[in-house]
């Protein structure tokens, strides 16, 4: 379903942000069941999306970096660079 690079990256940004917000909340509310469920749900979505992105477009982090021929981690564009 998510084939475009830009679209998938945006999805990763969104679910990762949900994880970050839930993480900060859980730091001060460690037993909150609703927060725990929310965190786990978006963490799963994030990990899945990161693997998909790595397979299609190259890794965003070392956990999803599997080197086939060339180590492209550094070679692809960096997040502050504008494309084109």
């Amino acid at each position: 379903m998510r084939y475009q690079k830009k679209e998938l990256l945006n999805y990763i940004n969104v679910v990762s942000f949900a994880v970050v917000e839930a993480n900060l909340y859980l730091d001060t509310h460690p037993n909150d069941e609703a927060a725990i469920e929310y965190f786990n749900n978006y963490q799963r979505a994030r990990n899945q999306a990161l693997r998909e992105y790595a397979n299609a477009f190259g890794p965003l982090n070392l956990d999803t970096a599997v080197i086939n021929r060339e180590f492209i981690w550094a070679d692809q564009s960096w997040p502050w660079q504008l494309e084109g």
Partner: protein, 62 residues
């Protein structure tokens, strides 16, 4: 004077004016009232209760 521990992890509300003096207190947030993840991302928080946009215009033309 009665003194007792107020546990921020209990879900009991406390009266601010009965708390010990010379200390800062921020209310404990409760989970809920969430934006969708997409909207939360755009608004920079998933929590409606923490969303406080800036409207100041100062000396700018408007």
């Amino acid at each position: 004077m009665e003194t007792y521990q107020r546990n921020s992890r209990n879900r009991q509300s406390v009266l601010l004016d009965e708390l010990p003096l010379a200390m800062a207190y921020v209310p404990m947030q409760r989970w809920g009232n969430l934006y969708s993840p997409e909207e939360g991302f755009q608004r920079a928080t998933i929590f409606r209760d923490l969303d406080f946009p800036f409207h100041g215009k100062g000396g700018c033309r408007r």
